[in-house]
Symmetry: none
Subunit: 199 residues, 4 copies
DNA sequence: CATTAATCGAGACGGTACGTCTTGTCTTGCA
DNA sequence: TGCAAGACAAGACGTACCGTCTCGATTAATG
């Protein structure tokens, strides 16, 4: 689709993007978003600051591009809904342990600075996850484990939000969550089925 | 409590604390945590920066003290568990609309910078809320609506996390949440009762 | 006269201005105007860049303030016009060997960048020198060595310009100039006397 | 002269040199040496930066080559020494009004950066002018207006230096200089004759 | 009533990161 | 090979913010 983008002049070096991403993720992991500096990213990537700014207009955008990049969570397929729920919880928990989370939280704190960043968040981070959740539950419907899709807005907020609060706010042990969350989610889904059936 | 603190010299002016709080909350609302500057707070409060720093050791601590200040959510008491759950959801949603949220998120992004801030968070924000939740469910137990308390860690993470994700991340309409969340929470609680009873 | 300048807040430290001047002159001497960097000035002066910029709005202005500062050449008074001329030539030659000259030339190259800098030059550098020249020749008139003042514009341009071209452009030996210049200047002055007398 | 330079591949386009010179002189006139950028020169010339750097090793050299290019001032020949002096003054004044002057001053400010630039200056700018001056005065000797050549170092510094100071530093009206300078120069020359004769 | 000790407004200061700009080099593909 | 286009490394510029500091002027409690 974007084939018509004519190449003129020296093409950008792929190595650069890789190096920026590597350095950024490293630093996010080591010192977090607030103390990540562009000079240090450039230094570690072995490139110059100007080269970073040719690709990303600001620190925010760079971190966003590197750390959020529409992750496309893999849709779990364990054979049972309960297994899928546990699997998904595990995946999200895993994600929230990597450097991406520090990026996520740091950027969230600067949403007010850059109008439009909020929308970018929704479309790059929230929306794909929501679609993944939907696909997972549609699978369950096809398997006959669910009669219909529940209120996806609520399900999505509940599932992701619980993981967030459990690990980042309450700082509970991550490995203890998936099983419990799966149980709770199943309860909600079954209850919704009954409620819908009786209406 | 710390009355024994000897007073010598000129006493602090109460007006100052009020002005700091007012200016801080204003700015949090207008530009968010990241773009709130100490100079601007001082300027709006009509005081000097040194005066702020005499009370609060850093920007983080100031915002923390002003915006988080262990709110002691009032324990809802509507007569029914379902009513209480809706009421609580409404209260939390309300809180997350004020400037306190911007403070919360901004500070969260600087947890890596200041070790110990995380603990402060837990003790000033998470723990009181957890206790409130517990009190609310104990009420339901006394009323006979629940046989016993559920896994409070999970309940708390789920309840608060869902509100957070619904309003801040997904940016759904706040007023649509309380009823749905109460339904979901009830489903989880009832399911846990059954599961516990059969064990 | 500027007594009404109310002092509020912490007063500026005199040490800072001294340190800036010292570091700037040192660097002008070592690497010249173009390669003098604000970071290095700050570093050598043991102060921060912000402190420099509080006093001087740009590199240009800083160098200007430090190196040009209306030097008020001392008016020579050797007893004879010829002696005074030689003395003055020696003084100017001496000045053009210090770091101030590198500043002068470097700034001259950036006159186009900052409109108004040209005027500042004239009033801080040219005008005082012209007045000094005038005072010197008035002395000669009082002594009876001259009947009247010559065309001061021409005299000034000739005297200063010759020193400039001799040392900076042609790069001749500085010590050989004063005597020759005094002779030439005397010739011009005497010739002007004759010409004026016969008119 | 260097015709033996092997030509391989595509020959250089003459149009390019013209365009570089045109753009450079334009920019020197508009914004001066310091704010002239290589990118803007390339852009205006409709060529690429690499093409400039294939011809000129640096900004300094480019400006030098374009603006100074050993002008070979035409030796005036009006029939009288006084006429020649006025004529020469007029020529120099004319030169110092064009973009060449901004180049001259700008480059002078970077002499410290590039050792050797000073020598280039002398050989490309000072020396030819000195030779021109000498030729002019030899003409006067042949005509019998002078008995012998004066101290050419001094004469040259005085003549050129006066024009420089008059127009660039003092910023006097250029058209008022030639007649006055001719008179002064004549006075110096005549005085030197007397002095030499009496020795 | 004078002393004392802390407070306050104002703003200078050191440190540090940001994002921009310019120079001179290098790498494509086309002619 | 020459050239247009433009990416790249290096590094200076001027701005912004934080948290500390130094003034001089208050303002109670104490001696």
């Amino acid at each position: 689709m974007q084939e018509q983008a004519q190449r003129m002049g020296r093409p950008r070096e792929g190595r650069v993007d890789t190096a920026i991403a590597k350095a950024t993720l490293e630093l996010l992991g080591e010192v977090g978003y607030a103390r990540l500096t562009m000079d240090e990213v450039a230094s570690r990537a072995g490139i110059s600051k100007a080269t970073i700014y040719r690709r990303h207009p600001s620190k925010q955008e760079m971190v966003f591009a590197v750390a959020i990049h529409g992750d496309e969570l893999p849709i779990p397929d364990t054979g049972t809904l309960r297994g899928d729920l546990e699997q998904l919880a595990r995946t999200i928990v895993g994600h929230l342990s990597g450097p991406a989370t520090k990026a996520l939280i740091g950027l969230l704190g600067e949403v007010d600075t850059d109008p439009g960043l909020a929308d970018r968040f929704v479309s790059a981070f929230i929306e794909p996850e929501r679609l993944g959740n939907t696909a997972m539950l549609e699978q369950a419907v096809r398997r006959g484990e669910l009669a219909r899709l529940p209120d996806m807005n609520l399900f999505h907020a509940m599932f992701g939000g619980t993981v967030l609060a459990w690990t980042l706010l309450a700082r509970n042990a991550p490995e203890e969550l998936p099983e419990r969350l799966a149980t709770a989610a199943l309860a909600v889904l079954r209850d919704a089925e009954l409620r819908a059936g009786s209406t």
